[in-house]
């Protein structure tokens, strides 16, 4: 009897373990990376507040593949810590391209709004958990598939000469618990 024939049950069990580990690691990897990224950002700014990163250079290591042509402003949101909803807003943004996008804890980009869609140089909406009803005070409500995630403002630097003005304008971006506003 060959070694393989004698140990076929152990070999089958080894392959089964490999399949389970592989499947679980592929499925969990995005959540793990997102969790690690949010934890890193959380060390720089509290949840539900916007942090404005400097223009990306080779020393920018917080998130892979940054664009050096954009300014990134980021908010790690936590609906639980936000009293059930988080308000995201900005105004008087630059006339060039900008967008605000939202990513859930599984890395999916489930919402994006750019300057052309916003039209007025402003954006104002609530993030709330899927399946909950939120008194929004007339603001649009965006349903978040997870309680935690990342809001990312991208602002194009179309001219380095305008960097200071563009940088100042993007500081209008805000992300805050909605509980206080609704009371």
């Amino acid at each position: 009897m060959s070694v393989i024939a004698r140990n076929w049950k152990w070999i089958a069990a080894t392959l089964a373990v490999a399949v389970i580990v592989h499947g679980a690691s592929v499925l969990l990897l995005p959540r793990f990376i997102m969790m690690r990224t949010m934890a890193g950002m959380g060390r720089l700014a509290p949840v539900n507040t916007v942090m404005h990163a400097p223009q990306a250079t080779a020393s920018s290591r917080a998130v892979v593949r940054p664009s050096p042509d954009l300014l990134y402003s980021v908010c790690v949101y936590d609906l639980g810590a936000g009293g059930g909803a988080v308000r995201v807003h900005t105004h008087d943004m630059p006339s060039s391209y900008w967008s605000v996008s939202v990513f859930d804890a599984n890395t999916d980009n489930f919402y994006a709004l750019n300057d052309r869609q916003a039209k007025t140089g402003a954006a104002d909406f609530l993030l709330a958990a899927q399946g909950t009803s939120t008194e929004s005070g007339g603001l649009p409500v965006v349903a978040s598939p997870t309680n935690r995630g990342i809001v990312l403002f991208r602002t194009l630097v179309d001219s380095q000469a305008d960097l200071a003005a563009i940088d100042a304008a993007r500081h209008n971006a805000a992300c805050e618990p909605y509980k206080a506003a609704s009371q």
């Binding site: 089964a16 490999a18 990376i33 920018s60 998130v63 940054p66 994006a112």
Partner: protein, 190 residues
């Protein structure tokens, strides 16, 4: 005792094998996709809820916080137009015209997915910064040695390129394999 050893080996080898397959299928490589357009690769499902587990894992590793196709299409290249791996020791030129998008950029990244350190602090060319010929075409030099005009500095080792198409025209999403993207030509290697 032998049974315990077999259980241990089953778990250890199975775990190692499973993680090795994950590394080979979902971690190794760079941001890409299943759609090819010359040396450039993309996917309509980058950043999207519709992306499958492998693409989602690959993007989490190599392109975290990428936007979905309605906002941006990302094309990445790890080879030149002849299919040879991009090498920082060599010099290249990118030749083309403005891709069909509201705004675009071409950025070089090292194998670690971060911008390539260089004394000039130059990492990309974009719709706003590029110098065009009178007919609207452009040429971008990729090299370690500084050159005038459109130039993206390289460093030793492998690297890759990403074209970002912000607010792409409808044709890009409708037929992402046939977008007029720039060619990448190798000029010389030491």
């Amino acid at each position: 005792m032998l049974r315990a050893l077999k259980i241990f080996l089953t778990l250890a080898i199975g775990t190692g094998l499973g993680l090795a397959v994950t590394w080979a299928t979902a971690i190794r490589g760079t941001m890409g996709g299943n759609v090819g357009d010359g040396p450039w690769r993309t996917s309509l499902y980058i950043g999207s809820k519709e992306s499958g587990p492998y693409l989602r894992a690959l993007i989490a590793v190599h392109g975290l916080l990428a936007l979905s196709r309605q906002e941006t299409m990302y094309y990445s290249a790890v080879t030149d137009s002849d299919g040879e791996r991009l090498d920082g020791h060599c010099s290249y030129r990118i030749e083309g015209r403005d891709p069909p998008a509201r705004w675009w950029s071409i950025t070089a990244y090292g194998a670690d997915d971060f911008l390539i350190p260089n004394p000039a602090d130059r990492y990309s060319v974009s719709m706003n910064s590029i110098n065009r010929d009178p007919d609207g075409s452009f040429v971008v030099a990729l090299s370690k040695q500084q050159v005038g005009g459109n130039w993206i500095p390289l460093a030793d080792g492998s690297y890759n390129l990403t074209i970002r198409l912000y607010n792409p025209q409808g044709a890009v999403v409708d037929d992402p394999a046939h977008v007029a993207l720039p060619a990448i030509r190798k000029l010389s290697c030491p």
